[in-house]
């Protein structure tokens, strides 16, 4: 085993593969962080839509979840890569395709987590807020969402970790993320054991950091 391959290619693996600075379009974090944020925002709308009283909102939101949960992520990436550019008449850059595919796909899962979290808040909380004259938007903002978010943390973080690791699928359209960067180096150096062990460690450190932060957040938000 010769770990000098890591040292020699460290800056390529980390700055190109993990962070996304380099001559190729890429970066695991550069894709994962905006995908998590935008996916979560879209997920809130999907989750609220699933709970809407009006069928005009509820049915499309439900259809969205059922559809995107039922197809493989790779296929969604391929659609954005091959199909959407044909429909639009312009080619889309790798980054746009990868980000759009992840946001759209993950929002279906996150929407379900958010719906379940909102439904986990006891009905009496809404009644208490309603009885004091709060509007439904104020009730959602001040009473339901803060409690729901706390209940959702474990499931949300699991989903964020899944998303983070799934970003390696973006390499199929030539996006140079951490996995692809290791592959590029390996093609030249033929050191698969060292390289894949190293990137496994990087993935693990990132996800472990996420789960530690989640545990801290959960503890900070609990008043029991």
């Amino acid at each position: 085993m010769d770990f000098s391959v890591i040292a020699n290619n460290f800056s390529f693996l980390i700055s190109q593969g993990l962070l996304g600075f380099g001559k190729f379009t890429g970066g695991t974090l550069r894709l994962a962080i905006p995908a998590i944020i935008l996916g979560f925002i879209l997920g809130i709308f999907i989750g609220l839509g699933r709970l809407a009283r009006s069928g005009w909102v509820r049915v499309p939101a439900t259809a969205y979840v059922e559809f995107f949960r039922g197809v493989p992520l790779v296929m969604v990436i391929f659609w954005f890569w091959f199909v959407i550019p044909v429909l639009l008449g312009v080619p889309l850059p790798e980054y746009t395709v990868a980000l759009a595919a992840f946001v759209v796909f993950e929002a279906a899962y996150l929407g379900e987590i958010i719906r379940a979290g909102i439904q986990s808040v006891p009905r009496g909380q809404v009644e208490a807020a309603t009885a004091t004259g709060l509007t439904s938007v104020q009730t959602m903002r001040h009473i339901i969402l803060p409690q729901a978010l706390k209940n959702m943390i474990p499931a949300l973080v699991t989903q964020f970790i899944v998303l983070f690791k799934d970003t390696s699928l973006a390499s199929i359209i030539g996006y140079v993320d951490l996995t692809k960067a290791a592959q590029i180096v390996n093609n030249r150096e033929i050191r698969p054991f060292e390289l894949y062990l190293f990137i496994a460690m990087v993935y693990w450190l990132c996800t472990y950091g996420m789960s530690r932060y989640a545990r801290y957040l959960e503890r900070r938000l609990s008043h029991a």
Binding site: E127, A128, H142
Partner: protein, 267 residues
């Protein structure tokens, strides 16, 4: 001192004026019916509650008494009939329901305090968000309310760290924070351990003495006897009997009331 006496005399005169000349109905049920699916939970309810009156509603479980008071601020919709609050029809599509709800304090069996907020913040939320009070002003008023329910030391405590009785007193303060004209209590002591019931009833008794209009669903017959102006008995969605406490407990008319009282007062 003389001023104080003047005030009391004047207060009595106003009180007399109200009670003798202009009895003012604040809540009125007109032929109200409600169903849950095929279950007829309120049957042709007719009821008037006057300003300053304390009405206790009792009856066996499932008799519709909780539903009755939950209809007053439209936590539950009704299917037929009409409810008037302060002369306003609840069915009126132009009614500002939210404004009306701020005039009606509601206290729940399960307290329903917001678990992610301190006692103080539970109380200040609605005055700040609904009435637009500044934080400092809202907190000052909230602290005064906490003192009124004997909870001034617990302003910074979260509900999970309070006993049931303490939580319910905070919940009463929260309801009072909107300065309601009417207070509704839905079995406020039913979820409490026996030793905590009195601290809550004491707060309610003081509120009644101050002249608050109150409708209280409860099984606390001691409270009904001492504080209520009128006791209502409900069974199977019907309003069976409404009497002064003296008559209600000594000489109930309906056999169903007699049966109910014999069950709850025998031991």
């Amino acid at each position: 001192m003389q001023n104080a006496i003047d005030h009391i005399v004047c207060g009595a005169a106003i009180c007399k004026f109200y009670t003798d000349e202009t009895l003012f109905t604040v809540i009125e049920f007109q032929h109200v019916n409600k169903w849950y699916g095929s279950l007829h939970v309120l049957r042709d309810i007719q009821l008037k509650i006057e300003r300053g009156e304390v009405v206790v509603v009792c009856g066996p479980s499932g008799s519709g008494k909780s539903t009755l008071i939950r209809c007053i601020n439209r936590l539950e919709p009704i299917q037929s009939g009409e409810i008037l609050v302060d002369g306003r029809q609840l069915s009126d599509p132009r009614l500002d329901l939210r404004a009306l709800r701020t005039e009606i304090g509601f206290v729940f069996q399960q307290f329903n305090l917001y678990p992610h907020m301190t006692a103080l913040h539970n109380i200040t939320l609605a005055p700040m968000k609904v009435k637009g009070l500044a934080r400092a002003e809202a907190e000052k008023f909230a602290l005064a309310l906490l003192e009124r329910v004997g909870m001034q030391d617990k302003a910074g405590a979260y509900p999970a760290n309070l006993s049931g009785g303490q939580q319910q007193r905070v919940a009463i303060a929260r309801a009072l924070a909107m300065q309601p004209k009417i207070m509704l209590f839905d079995e406020p002591t039913s979820a409490l351990d026996p030793e905590m019931i009195n601290e809550v009833l004491e707060v309610m008794t003081n509120l009644a003495k101050e002249g608050m209009t109150m409708a209280v669903v409860t099984h606390e017959m001691g409270f009904a006897r001492q504080v209520a102006h009128r006791v209502i008995f409900m069974d199977e969605g019907q309003l069976i009997e409404q009497e002064s406490p003296e008559t209600f407990f000594k000489a109930p008319k309906s056999p169903r009331t007699k049966l109910f009282l014999s069950k709850i007062l025998s031991h």
